[in-house]
């Protein structure tokens, strides 16, 4: 194309920036040697694990570092103007007018005591100095631009009265009201559900084109990067180790750390049989322990040489726009990479037992939460009770030694289902049998032997551990309670368990606060497996963890499962992880299981329309993969008053396949359609029709 080569200066130019925080130990350098440029209508992705300084860089740009943070070197130029060393007043004007930020949690960015209109109008009346009425008009127009349904109504609501996705749209609208040249987005979709995330990511892409805005996009999710970014900078321990166009980074990562990250994430479609995840060994050093005058990744690198320990690598050009901070990037051959000894483990082939006796059988299980009506009668106990139907008629069965993955958006009832099975919530109706025992009774009424066989790993390891008890005591507690081993052998058993989760004996006397997130989750797993249970329920065990830690924890669970031949119930919202980890998958929507079957069957046609939409929304860490574009409209209906007929009919994009535009979906409960004996779909659409759907994801 003979496009004229126009030398347009970048909107933002960051050069060799170093940022320090003052702490008790003196100044700690959180970020150093970071350089990048962002041009018009370009999204620059900053990726890296937690604590690597991504957010510090973003805050440094607008000088939001707090009283103890300061920029100690380098330059940050915004449209040619140096930002480092500006006074507070000058920066404030720039921030309001030309630079905007969108933060991770929309609820914290919005003021809960002001209506949406107050908050939007304020931006215009303060920075643009225009009248209230004019500001109102412009705000409504902007809300329309971010595809907010029912704009003028939303204007008069308070933040808590709209959904999370809508809140984030309000925040984005607010950021764009002054038409900024630079937009900094700090994990804007991390707190959102995958289907909502997909819509917000589409919106960001649209707005970038329309407004010609330069975007700095901070995220830890490689899938999101592949979807929205044009250029990527990979950060590790406060330094930028690699940067370049997104295609180059994904197709041909040069830095050993980037290569390691890619090996940590399961691709959508990979399974535990077909592939392995390889965590990066070691952990990110704390800022004060970082190697000085040496390659920062050297302690964890597979290609390390003496030079790496003694000399500081500089950013070298691997190709015209692809830069990498590594001495050996030319010699490293990714294809020849072999996992080191400690990462390889063989999963012994499980002998297929003929009798696939389900260990857990749930039939038509219901868990309702009662909610008193607001009438006066309810004060004296005469009011009509209403029910939140969190789990509404779920049937599933899990064969022994297998893993069942449960996926669905937040509020679909997957956690309630787990809690009901484990006995933390009382069921309302239905049958649930575990090893032939009835488990519809709450945990307090259960036999101790039964409790022993059913254990749980929780999402957030921090809040499930007692901060004042040592790790050894906490793992030892179930051993004593269930008398798994004689009292005098508890310590040995705990240490054996610690070894099983790859922690050494020294952890016995440590307190939870001395452990990293990944280590705490390992302790949580050790504690769950202490009583040698038959079934372990894992409620989002890896979603709070960084990708490299996530890979290690998933591997660990796989290993332990094989060793103890335990059955796992694995709840997650990340479809790639579930595909990788599970033998069977149940897709839940609004308290119902809408599709159930072997993992590989769920991810290929025929689909339930909801599964199809979920698969199309999930971000894939591969910029060349083709994904069908299906977006769900509206938000999940209230479980207090679920829709009649098929619960999904209000949002179903496939209803048009049926006669009368799917009138039957509104009136009649759909039948279970059996694709195979094990794979069933809860939908009115005949299988002959849904079999002809194309696969959602095709690899590039």
């Amino acid at each position: 194309m003979t496009n004229v080569q126009r030398d347009q200066a970048p909107i933002l130019k960051v050069e060799n920036v170093a940022i320090s925080y003052e702490t008790r130990y003196g100044d700690v350098e959180a970020v150093r040697r970071v350089s990048f440029e962002v041009g018009h209508a370009t999204t620059f992705g900053l990726v890296g694990e937690s604590g690597c300084g991504k957010s510090t860089v973003a805050f440094g740009i607008v000088d939001f570092l707090g009283p103890n943070g300061k920029i100690t070197g380098g330059s940050i130029k915004f449209q040619g103007r140096e930002l480092v060393g500006r006074t507070e007043n000058e920066l404030r004007r720039l921030r309001g007018d030309q630079i905007a930020m969108v933060y991770q949690d929309p609820m914290q960015a919005l003021n809960p005591s002001l209506t949406i209109s107050d908050q939007l109008n304020e931006v215009l009346t303060v920075h643009r100095n225009i009248s209230e009425a004019e500001a109102w008009k412009k705000s409504v127009a902007m809300l329309e631009r971010v595809y907010m349904p029912d704009c003028s109504n939303v204007m008069s609501r308070y933040p808590h009265q709209i959904s999370g996705g809508q809140q984030q749209r309000v925040v984005i609208a607010m950021a764009l009201l002054t038409n900024p040249a630079l937009l900094i987005m700090d994990e804007p979709t991390t707190a959102l559900d995958v289907t909502v995330e997909a819509v917000v990511l589409d919106l960001i892409e649209d707005l970038k084109r329309d407004f010609d805005t330069a975007i700095v996009y901070i995220t830890h999710d490689l899938g999101v990067v592949a979807r929205v970014c044009n250029e990527v900078g990979v950060m590790y321990a406060g330094e930028m180790v690699e940067s370049g166009p997104v295609e180059a980074i994904f197709a041909d990562p040069k830095h050993p750390y980037t290569q390691g990250l890619m090996r940590c994430v399961p691709k959508l479609g990979s399974t535990k049989e077909s592939s392995r995840l390889y965590p990066i060994r070691g952990r990110v050093p704390a800022p004060k322990d970082r190697p000085k005058g040496a390659c920062i990744f050297a302690p964890r690198c597979d290609y390390v040489t003496d030079r790496c320990h003694n000399e500081l690598p500089v950013m070298e050009e691997a190709s015209s726009e692809h830069r990498v901070r590594c001495f050996h990037h030319k010699e490293i051959d990714v294809a020849a990479w072999k996992p080191s000894e400690d990462l390889v483990f063989d999963l012994p082939a499980v002998e297929e037992k003929e009798s696939q006796e389900p260990i857990l059988e749930v039939k038509d299980l219901r868990t309702y939460y009662t909610q008193e009506s607001k009438s006066v009668w309810s004060l004296v106990g005469l009011g009509q009770k209403r029910y939140v139907k969190a789990v509404d008629g779920v049937s599933l069965e899990v064969p022994a030694g297998k893993t069942l993955g449960i996926v669905g958006e937040s509020g679909c009832g997957k956690s309630t289902l787990a809690k009901t099975i484990v006995g933390l919530e009382a069921s309302t109706a239905g049958k649930a049998e575990f090893l032939g025992f009835d488990i519809t009774v709450p945990v307090s009424a259960r036999d101790i032997k039964l409790i022993q066989e059913l254990q749980m790993v929780f999402q957030n390891p921090d809040s499930t551990m007692n901060p004042s008890y040592s790790i050894g005591q906490q793992i030892g507690r179930p051993l004593q309670r269930f008398k798994t081993v004689p009292a005098n052998q508890v310590r040995e058993e705990v240490i054996r368990l610690l070894h099983a989760v790859r922690l050494d004996e020294s952890y016995y006397d440590r307190l939870p606060r001395q452990l990293s997130g990944g280590e705490k989750q390992r302790v949580g797993i050790a504690r769950a497996f202490a009583s040698r249970p038959e079934l372990v329920l894992c409620d989002e065990p890896v979603s709070a963890l960084d990708v490299s830690v996530q890979a290690a924890v998933l591997n660990l669970l796989l290993e332990i499962q094989h060793e103890f031949h335990t059955t796992l119930l694995f709840i997650a919202h990340d479809l790639s992880v579930v595909r990788f980890f599970s033998d069977y998958v149940a897709v839940m929507y609004l308290g119902h299981v809408v599709e159930f079957g072997p993992a590989e069957a769920i991810y290929a046609p025929p689909y339930h329309p909801y599964t199809e939409a979920l698969l199309s929304a999930v971000p894939i860490p591969d910029p060349t993969a083709e994904q069908k574009h299906i977006r769900l409209e509206g938000s999940v209906p209230s479980a207090l008053k679920p829709p009649s007929g098929c619960v999904f009919h209000t949002r179903c994009p496939r209803r048009t396949l049926l006669a009368d535009g799917g009138l039957i979906c509104e009136t009649e409960v759909p039948p279970w359609r059996y694709n195979t004996e094990q794979h069933r779909i809860y939908c009115h659409i005949p299988l002959e029709v849904s079999r002809q759907m194309e696969p959602v994801v095709t690899a590039g």
């Binding site: 003979t2 040619g80 002054t178």
Partner: protein, 219 residues
Amino acid sequence: MIVKDYMTKHPVMIDPAMSIVEAQSIMAETKTRHLPVVGEGKRLVGLITHETLRIPPNILTSLDVWEITRFLSNLTVKDVMVKCKDIITIGPDITIEEAARIMVEHKIGCLPVLNEEIVVGIITDTDLMAHLVEMLAAPEPSVRVTMRMSLATGELARLVAAISAQGWGIWALGGIYSPKDPNSWEAVFKISDAPREQVIAALSKIEGQKIIDVREVAG
């Protein structure tokens, strides 16, 4: 082709209180020649160009070296900029040929694009030049032809029919009144996937039209 789709959005803008030394360094840094000066809420108050930064020779000769430095460092953008009332501006919804006409008429190099006083973009002579190039650009090597035809209706349709009869496609097309003959019109276009000789052979058969120029170009 409407200005709002072709202007530079988010132009580099400066404060009236900025020193001209800094304004100069921003111009050098961002490789721009025009800086809109904006006040509260990106409202246009002035314009800085290379000409405005030039110090009149009579001042230069009357000052010694040390005084020049001081003179320069005290000078702010506000002192030298073209004032708002003297700037010619346009709205975002006019066509780019209209914008070009305004620039030619006033012999100026840039037009700030305003939406109710607020600067939303800028369009410069270089932008227009770049778009002229793009209008006549083809993605691959092609044959560039100039044809002269009469002003009668249907002439262009005959030309296009002759080209499509050969199975060729037209990549870029522009037209202008013939500079040599005010009663005729010249069409400039590029043809893909066709050898020069065949193009000449096919086009010379069209009655009443004349090939002015044929050449092979890279794009």
